[in-house]
């Protein structure tokens, strides 16, 4: 402000001095306080408003981000849910009955990571009901099963044949195979002509967690060959009746037929040599059931020579006592 008055303005120095001497009023202190407080509130409201604004948009942002993450997780879970439901449905099917006359580990395909030895000794009795089950399966389910679990099926039922073709097949299932690549498993073990469709069927299994893959393999294997009580009671004859009804186009069925023929007619030395007495005995039983008593006796003789200390099961002992 100007300390000296504008020379253009009319001025009376004496009057101005008197005015300045007498006019000394000032606002009351409470008025000052009120105005200053109001000014601070007004200024404070700005930053407060800014803080509120920041907090008001950061909080929703954080909430939105959290919701997005949660939604993503939920969608992922939902994407995986159908497969789990499929597994649950499949697993809810009749569980594989314990093979009374077969070693328990052989009844279900052991995970490759666990099985040190391939399930070469699948008893024929366990295999033949499986055939019946496969024949009774709807084509879609069968194809699905083939796609998903050809290796386990093959390894369970056709392993002896595979062993007869190539002994070096055995290590294949031992591969660290949570992924259990079906081609890798089954390629060397295919029984020649019938096999290629099975080879082509499996799609590459995407690399996922081992647990889930093992579960899928188990599930599909069970869905392909759930040995029912009826089929088990039907033993060989029931299975035989079912085999012709199997669609010729089914690679698994044809493959099994060939394998069964191989097993029933001529077991190669290599396959027999590697069989345990119990497995050998099962094959002999199968020959007996097929009416090939001569071959059964020959196998029985070989079994006795190979395992002289092994005591024959009562049925085979009785069969050996019968006149040829």
């Amino acid at each position: 402000m100007n300390t000296t008055p504008d020379p253009q303005l009319p001025h009376d120095a004496e009057l101005s001095a008197l005015y300045r001497k007498l006019a000394v009023e000032e606002p009351a202190t409470d008025i000052d306080d009120a105005i200053l407080a109001a000014s601070r509130r007004a200024v404070g409201s700005g930053p407060r408003a800014m803080r509120w604004f920041k907090s008001s948009w950061t909080a929703p942002l954080a909430t939105a981000a959290t919701l997005m993450v949660a939604l993503s997780v939920a969608l992922l879970v939902r994407d995986h849910a159908p497969s789990r439901q499929e597994q649950a449905v499949t697993l809810s099917e009749p569980p594989p009955a314990p093979a009374a006359d077969a070693p328990a580990p052989a009844a279900a395909p052991a995970p490759a990571s666990e099985g040190a030895t391939p399930p070469l000794a699948e008893p024929p009795k366990a295999a033949m009901p499986n055939e019946a089950a496969v024949a009774e399966k709807p084509p879609q389910a069968l194809q699905k099963a083939e796609k998903k679990s050809a290796p386990p099926v093959f390894s369970v039922e056709d392993a002896p044949a595979a062993a007869s073709k190539a002994k070096d097949v055995a290590p294949a299932p031992v591969k660290p195979a949570p992924v259990m690549s079906a081609p890798a498993m089954s390629a060397p073990a295919m029984p020649a002509a019938d096999a290629p469709p099975v080879m082509a069927a499996p799609e590459p299994v995407p690399m996922r967690d081992a647990k889930r893959d093992r579960l899928q393999e188990k599930t599909v294997a069970e869905s392909v060959a759930p040995p029912t009580a009826a089929s088990r009671s039907g033993a060989g004859s029931g299975a035989d009746a079912a085999v012709p009804t199997a669609k010729p186009a089914s690679p698994i069925t044809s493959e099994r037929n060939s394998t069964r023929r191989l097993l029933g007619a001529t077991s190669t030395e290599s396959a027999v040599d590697e069989a345990s007495p119990e497995q050998w005995a099962n094959r002999i039983r199968k020959l007996i059931n097929h009416g090939e008593h001569k071959a059964a006796r020959e196998e029985l003789d070989k079994l006795r020579k190979r395992y002289p200390d092994w005591s024959l099961p009562p049925d085979l002992a009785e069969f050996s006592k019968e006149a040829p």
Binding site: N2, P5, L9, K21, E25, E26, P27, I31, G44
Partner: protein
């Protein structure tokens, strides 16, 4: 906040959120503005009321403040607007006759030279004489004395030409001298 900053810088700082700037600004203008309003209304109570309104208006409109003139002009423009409203609301007519035609204060209302008055009484006398001025003359005189504005500033603030302001001030001085009488040498 520096005391050396201009009013405009302080107001800009306050606009941007510096409460301390307002404190400095307020201290600079509080007494003068209060006296201006108090003398203009002729009532300390009314002056206080308007005084608070002016400052609150300034606080509320701080975000729109731009330096287009001196801050004091800006502040007293607010005060002038409040005064116009106040006079209107109280049924007082500020647009009086031309300054030259304004009647002289009655003789009995003027200073009696034989009375010895203390300073308080002198201040009351000054207030009385100011209240006898026509509002527009009083406003021009107070803007000169309290606001220490230049001629152009007052003309801009009041919204009239400079010659009218000069005339109003001239008449105000004359009437005050006549009223105060013996208080002046």
């Amino acid at each position: 906040m520096s005391e050396n900053q201009t009013d405009e810088e302080l107001m800009l700082a306050y606009r941007d959120g510096d409460a301390g700037a307002f404190d400095v600004l307020y201290r600079r203008h509080r007494a003068r503005l209060y006296r201006f309003l108090s003398h203009e209304t002729g009532s300390p109570a009314a002056g206080e009321e308007l005084y608070q309104e002016v400052w609150m208006t300034l606080i509320r409109s701080r975000e729109r403040y731009v330096v287009s003139a001196k801050f004091s002009t800006y502040l007293y423009q607010i005060a002038h607007s409040r005064l116009v409203d106040w006079f209107r609301s109280h049924g007082k007519v500020r647009l009086e006759a031309l300054d030259e035609d304004a009647p002289e204060p009655p003789a009995e209302a003027c200073w009696q030279p034989d009375r010895q008055l203390d300073q308080r009484q002198e201040a009351d006398r000054l207030r009385h004489c100011l209240s006898q001025l026509p509002p527009q003359q009083r406003e021009a005189f107070l803007l000169k004395e309290e606001g220490e504005f230049s001629l152009d500033d007052i003309a801009q603030l009041v919204g009239v030409n400079a010659e009218t302001i000069k005339s109003r001030i001239r008449y105000a001085i004359s009437k005050l001298r006549n009223c105060l009488g013996g208080l002046l040498a």
